[in-house]
């Protein structure tokens, strides 16, 4: 008899403390601590081999942690009953190729304990959401990779789970499919589900996630709301006719630095740009380009995960390959 989970909206959907996983000599996860709230889209980022999929497997009970503890929907990691409320799209999305799309979803409905009368309507609903309603009766083995990934997404959303874990959900999708997935993820969060999005597609995460954690070598190197992780806004001006002695005149906008013809003021919000330009012009400087905003997630990601990596082509980098 599988115990039904008691769900509380007060508890975080995911809460792990000092989670570690070792495979022989390799430490795949080196003390992960994080929390994901209900109704939140959480982006879990990291380069290949950072420990993202290992984390997902630990959360779902497919692997056991070497040490540390965690709770999913208020129950300990690996709790069987809790999995009724968790939808999962694996990185390696494969389903019985001899089954029809609707049959795959009704099977998953049966496995997750949906009442018999709910299985087919829930399967059809999920197929509709992922855009496979007209292929419900087709054999999965004839599906393209993208369609199989859509089917996997449908399986993950089946029965409106409280937690949706998506491991690289758009790896096989075309740009249209990626946009669709962003919409699907947002609507799952809007109905109150927590979405744990494991990805290395930074633009995807940037557009859909409320909070992110960046993982590298099994450790979280940055986490928090997207704005916090991306850091302060800055204004960069390509300018000529400006000397180091002129910098004191623009200090009221923020701390300035001048490297050649590139003036950087950080932090500085975009709202001050017209006044800054006016000031520079009044000083006789010539302005060639102005950029203002936060660094992209990609820039921030590269800063964080590349700082302890040797540049490509160096002897130590070659050894890593």
């Amino acid at each position: 008899m599988i115990r039904m989970p008691r769900l509380s909206l007060d508890l975080p959907a995911i809460e792990v403390t000092d989670l570690r996983k070792r495979y022989g000599a390799v430490e795949a996860l080196a003390g992960l601590t994080m929390s994901v709230g209900r109704g939140e889209v959480f982006g879990f980022l990291g380069p290949n081999g950072a420990g993202k999929t290992t984390t997902v497997k630990l959360l779902l009970g497919l692997a056991r942690p070497t040490s540390g503890s965690g709770k999913v929907l208020g129950a300990p990691l690996g709790d069987l009953g809790t999995r009724r409320k968790v939808g999962y799209l694996p990185e390696l999305f494969r389903y019985q190729p001899w089954l029809r799309a609707r049959e795959v979803l009704t099977l998953h409905g049966e496995l997750m304990g949906l009442p018999r009368s709910r299985r087919r309507p829930a399967a059809d609903e999920a197929l509709q959401v992922v855009g496979l309603a007209d292929r419900a009766g087709d054999v999965v083995g004839r599906f393209s990779k993208g369609m199989q990934q859509r089917l996997g997404l449908g399986a993950a959303l089946l029965g409106e789970p409280a937690l949706v874990v998506l491991d690289e959900p758009t790896s096989a999708l075309d740009p249209v499919g990626r946009v669709d997935v962003r919409g699907i993820v947002r609507s799952a969060a809007d109905r109150g589900a927590a979405v744990f999005l494991n990805s290395h597609l930074l633009s995807e995460v940037e557009q859909v996630c409320d909070r992110v954690a960046i993982l590298d070598h099994g450790r979280v190197v940055a986490s928090g709301a997207l704005d916090d992780v991306l850091g302060q806004a800055e204004t960069v001006v390509r300018v000529s006719g400006l000397g180091a002695g002129d910098l004191s005149a623009v200090e009221r906008f923020g701390p300035p630095t001048l490297e050649g013809e590139v003036l950087t003021i950080r932090p500085m919000e975009e709202a001050g740009v017209p006044d800054l330009v006016a000031q520079l012009v009044s000083m006789g400087a010539r302005i060639h380009e102005v950029r203002s905003g936060r660094s992209s997630l990609e820039q921030r990601f590269l800063e964080l995960v590349a700082r302890d990596r040797p540049p490509a082509g160096t002897p130590s980098a070659q050894r890593l390959r």
Binding site: Y23, K57, T82, R83, R84, P90, Y95, L111
Partner: protein, 281 residues
């Protein structure tokens, strides 16, 4: 567990494996019927007695059972060895095991589904072959169900072994090991009979050890015993040639070895479940 068993049976049907087996069995039974009827007609023309004909037909049946038993064992090996390994390699199992599905239910469901397919195939084909041979020759074994049950039992023992291997080894390796183990166990059984006849205790010990490790040979003894007419057993019992032949059995398998086969199967499946539980997916 029943969901997975049903899924496994559905897979066999949907992938046309079942239908291929049914067609092959129909061809084999038709050829057997034609061959036996031709032989019986020829024997009657030459004036052979009904007793001689019954003996000859029983020997043909035993030979067919030997071939059919090997086909069943191969079927069990080919079905069982990818049962877990292929689904783990492809990721199909991970998607299901992330649901509230116990690993034991998954593994035992896979075993049960395959066991039903193999035992059903053994029963349908075996009884059809015996029935058709009975129809064209007039010879029916004393209890036709018994040899068929032993044939099915033998393949279920091997299926259990392949499912265990499937939790750790790739399909080809698991299947090859199981088939070779079956062949060795069969040969050890033959050597054991010769050892008994020649009073060679070391050969008997090897045979006993083999039966302990893989109890398939006892089922083969049951198949042979179940297909023989009683007058053959009475006439040949004690004869040196009969005592050393793998195609003659004076008795069915002892209840103790059948109980051991049952215990062995339970232990092997328990070990398979433990292996799968330990495995990181």
């Amino acid at each position: 567990m029943l969901t997975i068993a049903r899924l496994t049976i559905g897979e066999a049907a949907r992938r046309r494996v079942l239908w291929v087996l049914v067609i092959l069995a129909a061809i084999a039974v038709s050829l057997t019927a034609w061959g036996v009827s031709t032989l019986v007609a020829g024997a009657r023309d030459r004036g052979l007695s009904e007793l001689e004909i019954k003996f000859a037909v029983s020997q043909i049946l035993i030979f067919i059972a030997f071939m059919f038993g090997f086909v069943l064992v191969m079927t069990a090996a080919f079905f069982g060895s990818p049962a877990i390994a292929t689904e783990l390699e492809s990721g199909v199992a991970q998607a299901m095991l992330a649901r509230p599905l116990r690993r034991s239910s998954y593994l035992l469901g896979r075993w049960l589904g395959l066991a039903i397919v193999i035992a059903g195939y053994a029963a349908a084909s075996g009884l059809l072959a015996i029935g058709v041979v009975g129809l064209v020759s007039g010879y029916l074994p004393p209890d036709p169900i018994l040899p068929v049950a032993y044939l099915a039992g033998q393949s279920l023992v091997l299926l259990s072994l392949t499912v265990l291997l499937s939790t750790r080894l790739p399909p080809i390796a698991g299947g090859a090991i199981a088939v070779v183990a079956y062949g060795l166990a069969w040969m050890a059984g033959v050597l054991g009979k010769i050892g008994l006849a020649l009073d060679a205790p070391s050969l008997v010990s090897v045979s006993d050890a083999s039966r302990f490790l893989l109890p398939t040979d006892a089922f083969w003894q049951g198949v042979v015993y179940g297909l023989e007419p009683s007058f053959v057993i009475n006439a040949a019992e004690g004869e040196f040639v009969a005592r050393t032949s793998p195609f003659f059995a004076a008795n069915g398998p002892a209840p103790a070895i059948l109980i051991w086969a049952l215990v062995w199967t339970v232990l092997v499946l328990a070990l398979a479940v433990a292996q799968l539980r330990r495995r990181e997916l």
